[in-house]
Structure formats: C-alpha cells, structure tokens
Symmetry: C2
C-alpha cells in the first residue's frame, strides 16, 4: 500500500482541515500506487492519520475517505455507495416518489470523493472526476447495475480506466427528464448543463413557488430550462424567464407547455450581464431570481465576480416592487453571503431575510467547507408606506459592457 507522509505541521493532519490533502502538505511517498486503491496517510512522526485515494499528478494529492488507525474494509466503496443510496431513500427520494430528479451520490459529501451520480427517473448519469474513481468504474458499475430497468450513462472525466466500460454505459442520452413535486421537466442534449439539469436548486424552486400568490409577477434570470419560472407559474404567477441559450429557452417553452402553464410564461433570450432592456423585463416584479453562471472558479476571481454580481444587482433590484424579494444565487464556493451582501448594497433599501443552500441530496462532509458551493441569499426590498426606493444606481449604460466571466 502506498504510504504518504505529511510535512511537519501540515493542517491536513487535523480532521478539521477537511478531507483534501494538497501537494504542499506532502513530504514524501513510499510504495506502490494502484489507482483506485487506498493509500495510508501518516503524519511527520509516522503516526497513521487515515486513509485516502491518492492521485499524485493532481493538485489535490489525496482525498481522505477515513480518519484514524483502522483502514476501511475491502468493500468500502460498495458499502459507501449502498449507504448513499439508502440515505436518499431515507429522505423520501425514490424513482417512484414525487421527486424523480435527485443526486444519489455527492462525492466527498458521501465519502466517495470523485464520484457523482444523478438520477433522472429511470436514467443514471454517473460522473467520475478523479483518476482513482475513474479507475474504479467497474466496481461502481457493479453497485449501480443491480437495479433492473435503470439506464446508466457514464461520463469519465479523467483517465485512466483499468478497462473500458461497456458501450451501453457510454452513450450520451438524447435527453434527461424528471418530475419535481407534480411538475415535469425535460432537458434535451443540446441544452444540458452539469449532468443535465440543476437538481441542486430543487428545494429552492419549491420555496420560491411557496411565496407566490396568484397574480404576482416573477422574473427568473438565468432560467435554463425554465426552473424557477415554471415553478412560480404553476403556483399562479405571471413569469418571465431569461437565458443566454436559445436551446435552453426552447426547452423551457416545451416544459411550460408540458405542464399546461405556457400562457403564464414568457421567454427572453439575453445576456444577463449585458442586455436586459426588453420591455417584458421592465417590472415591477414581486420576485426576481438571479441565478448567474459560476462567476468565481478560483479565490482570486472573487473581486471581479463581486463586481459582476453588483452590476447585475444594480440592474435588477430597481425592478423589484417595494416589499418584494430578490434572490441572488451563487454557485461559486468562493462567493460567500458577505460577497452577495456587498453586491446588493447601496442600490435600494433592503434587508436579508434568508440564505438558502443546495437540496439535501447534496450533503456536505464535516469540515469540508469546499463542499458548500450553492448559496441563494434572499433579500426583501423595504420602503413600503412612503419610503422612496432609489433607482439612481441603475446604470444600464455602464452595465451594457459585456461581461468577461465564464458561463458555468
């Protein structure tokens, strides 16, 4: 078994440092590396810290799967996958339940670093993002193949594999489809994001729909295939969805029709950072959701990201009715509530009434703060009963400069 010795004083020796051991924490390695197998991690004095999956070429050299002296059993991978699936069933998530689109395995969150499995009805989209997990595809397949009638689709993000997976596992599906609290969503291959759709926002779509009373107007910026707009329209709102992708909007319109609420939805193709001048977007709206692409992939991007979010907030907040809500999402783990607060500051009088996160099928491992990525800060515009809402910070001319930030 490969043994990895940590440098003296490496924070990685402390469980509270989280499950990632970076190259700078490693003093030396001894013994054979078998990708997919466990390596033992020891501190500078040779005491066993725990066990993890080693990937010497990666920026994160080891992803821990257990702390302490005792190595995990030989069947740890199978047991962890079984536990992850059981945990979802315990949350009431099952292919014959009211929600058929959910995450079955969430990488570090389930003690399975590098493995993500999303369920879309009778389809499983399996993603491996690290070499050790990719090398274990056949063990993973054995666990996931047990259920009859499930079509698997394997995305191998990093080489190498020990042996190539069967062809049936590798054919990208023409579409993914799922049910969410009585609503049906479909994403064709042309519009897929992440594993297909944004399952992490599921409970937030439901929460926002719970705020709707008939006749409200809701704006959903970054709607993808209709997510928040369709949930709100089904609850009785008149909604407008905005996205930069024509393919996504076509799917959104299909989803609206599929759910019988096309007459309460409108779809506008626009770049949210550059072009929100369409008449339909003028407002006022009772609820505005802004779910931009990942704006800060690295800690160094945070300043630029906050500026982009500020520009977005400056254009959208004045369109929110006094008393209404503005939901500013970030899927960049480096963007905190404080950054979101900074982005909405000084535009209109506002206070923060909640911070929402990812759906519970996206668990976070203890002390793995990197696993917290999705934040949706909910602000209320105050100023009813006479307090004027300032709109002078709305600077469409300045905001028209196209944004350099990447699409997620």
């Amino acid at each position: 078994m490969l043994t990895i010795r940590l440098r003296r004083g490496a924070r990685a020796a402390d469980p509270r440092g989280g499950p990632w051991i970076r190259a700078r924490d490693v003093a030396r390695m001894r013994g054979p590396l078998v990708l997919g197998e466990l390596a033992r991690v020891e501190d500078a004095a040779g005491r066993t810290v725990g066990y993890g999956l080693a990937d010497p070429d990666a920026a994160i050299t080891v992803r821990m799967v257990a702390r302490g002296e005792t190595p995990p059993d030989d069947d740890w991978l199978e047991r962890r996958i079984g536990a992850a699936l059981a945990a979802r069933r315990a949350l009431g998530l099952r292919p014959d339940g009211p929600v058929t689109g959910y995450r079955e395995v969430n990488s570090e969150g389930d003690g399975l670093p590098g493995l993500v499995v999303d369920r879309y009805g009778d389809l499983r989209v399996v993603t491996t993002t690290t070499a050790p997990m990719t090398a274990s595809w056949h063990r993973i397949a054995r666990c996931l193949d047990l259920e009859a009638g499930v079509r698997p689709y394997l995305r191998l993000c990093e080489a190498p594999t020990v042996s190539p997976p069967p062809a049936a596992w590798c054919e990208p599906p023409p579409r993914v489809a799922w049910t969410e609290y009585g609503l049906r969503f479909e994403v064709p291959r042309t519009a897929m994001q992440k594993t297909g759709g944004y399952l992490d926002q599921r409970e937030n779509r439901r929460t926002i729909a719970s705020w709707v009373r008939p006749g409200m107007r809701v704006l959903d910026v970054g709607t993808h295939v209709g997510g928040f707009a369709i949930a709100a329209a089904a609850a009785g709102a008149d909604t407008v969805g905005v996205d930069g992708s024509a393919a996504a909007l076509a799917a959104a319109a299909d989803n609206a029709a599929r759910n019988g609420i096309a007459d309460r939805t409108q779809w506008i193709e626009a770049d949210m950072f550059a072009d929100l001048d369409a008449d339909a977007l003028a407002g006022p709206f009772d609820i505005v959701v802004a779910d931009p692409p990942k704006v800060a992939a690295r800690p160094g991007d945070v300043r630029r990201a906050t500026k982009a979010l500020t520009r977005l907030a400056a254009r959208l907040l004045p369109r929110v009715r006094a008393g209404g809500r503005f939901v500013l999402c970030s899927c960049s783990r480096n963007v905190t509530e404080e950054h979101l607060d900074a982005a909405v500051d000084g535009i209109v009088p506002i206070h923060r009434i909640a911070v929402l996160g990812a759906a519970p099928c996206h668990p976070v491992a203890l002390h793995h703060t990197e696993g917290v990525y999705l934040r949706a800060a909910v602000y209320q515009v105050v100023g009813g009963d006479g307090t004027k809402i300032r709109t002078d910070e709305d600077q469409p001319a300045a905001a028209k400069r196209s944004s350099p930030i990447a699409r997620r």
Copy 2:
C-alpha cells in the same frame, strides 16, 4: 446635534463594518446629546460618515441608522416603523392570516436599532433595549397605536424615558397566544421566554414537520411549550418533548390537547445537559431536534459552548436511526456552522444536509453579521445498508456532570 468623530482608521467608517460603532472607534464627541435624537458621525478628517443613535454610556456608542451625507428626515422613526410593518404584510404575515405570531420590527434588521416588536394575535409585545429607543417610546407608541383592537405591552429594558408610558402599555399579559399554520400555541406568563415564545423557529418547525411520515418517532429536546414536537405530532409522528421547565411542559401538554394530538405526545422534565436517561428517550428516533439555550453569549464562551454541544450531541446522535436526521440549533451568534460541525464530529457517520436560519420576519441588515444568530444545522446519520453506527462515544456517565452554561 451631537457630532461623533471616529479615530483614524476606524473600521466603523466603512459601511461593510456594519452599523455598530464601539467606544474604541470614537476619538471625541462635540455638542448636545438628546437621547432618542440622531447624532452625526464623521471620520478622522471631518467627512460625514452617516447618522446614528448615540448612547455614550453603552458599549456600543452609536448604532447607525443611515450612511452618507444626507441626514434622515425628522420622521425617520415613524417611516421605518411603517416600512417594517409593510414588509411583514408583504411576506403574507398579518393578524388574520395563517400565521399570527411573528416579529414586526427586528431592531437593526429594520433600521430601528434597539426596538423589537413581536405580534401575538391581537397583542403587541414592544421591547426597547437601548436608552435612545427607550426615550422614544412615545413616538413608537404613536405608530403602533394606530391599529384599533391591538393590546400593547411595553417592556422598557433601559432607562431613561422622557415621560412614563401609560399604565395600559405596561401591564404584562397573563399569556400570549398565536396561530401557526393551523396549529394554536399559548404560553402563560410563568413559561414566557424572550417576548413570550420562540417565533424565530417558526419556519423551521414547519420544515421539520414536512419531513414527517406517519409512524415516525421524533424527539424534541428543549421543547419549551411544545414547538417542534407539536408540529411533528400534527404531521403524524409520535413525539417526545424534553424541557427543564415544568411550567413550560405544562403549557406544552395544554398546547397538545388544544390541537387534538395529546395522544401522540409525551413530555419529560429533564436537564438536557445532565439527565436524558428516561426510558421514553431511548430511541431510536427518526428525527431528533436539540434546541439548547444560548450557550455562548460572548466570543470567549465559544470553546466551552462547543464542549457543551459536543456532550449533548454525543448523547443524542446514537439515538437517531440510520438515515434519520439530527437538528442541532444554536441561538448564539458566536457559534457558527463550523462549531456545530465540530460538536457532531466523530460520534456516528454523518453528513450535513442543510443549515436553517431564523424566520424571514427576523431580517438582517446588510453587513450586520452580529444580526445573524439562529442556526439550525441539519445532519443525516448515514450507514444504512450495512455500515455500522458506532455508539461508543455515548458517555452518559461523563455527560451527567451538570452544565455550567446559562439558560437563554
């Protein structure tokens, strides 16, 4: 008008520092202090930073109510109160709605530092916690007295008042009562906490009830007058509520009877930090909620508080069924998610699936991180499908030492 000059480099000159200006930030004061009136705050170079309520004897010398050159209007207090009430109506909170227990004014969160107003049906409990706000009681009364049929109760926490409030405002109510999504709660004077009940946990009670399927077993530790237990029992669970106060438990039993679910509830008097050995508490439970009193009033208390939470978690987590949920609450603003994670670490295999906060009628002002206090971290016990749950960290003997921490 009193002018307060900040020290060179004081963080309080930056809006991102939040609305509190502490004594150490103040270089000098000039001019007359009229309690309840605004003071101008300037930086070391004499530039106006903004306006706030000054209280030179308090640890927080100024609580800002506006940033920038322009002072708030003479009727700023009235307008802010009006805006706060309007904001609650915009959230669907009104005395004739499905929720009649809610916070109408949340101090800094509504730009009204030192003023808290809680609504319990036709009763208003008005609390002033700073001398300037106490001195403004007659202006506050004018705003709140406008609604006919509302009984006010004023709690003046700090002297002085300019003139004493009318007797009708000062008589403590014999009880508070409210409705919460179809459930009725009452708290007699003998069991009142905070302004009467814990309105901040309202949406969390509803969320936890939404997890219940008939036949589940739910344990509510720190139940007060039945909160989580009654919400879960109404959703079909068999529940056990634990509290250290016999008066609170008597009220809890009354509330259970009032809602017709007494047969699904059981009430146990116990100190959660010392004595959880009653047979009814043995488990396994599908959901365990631990809502302890404030364990860390000051930053220096955090280490001791985390130890107390660890002891509590070590006793409760082994009683949660595999796949079940453990909700660990903290109402100490110094206790973060990371502290809660540390408290649950190493007891049984677990991951975090959500972090809940205070109900949206408890808004937070931008950059006022001190305003974030209630956190309810939701963990799921994993280990279904064969992974054994370790229970050896359950140390009732050690945990029996009585806790030195204060009741909130």
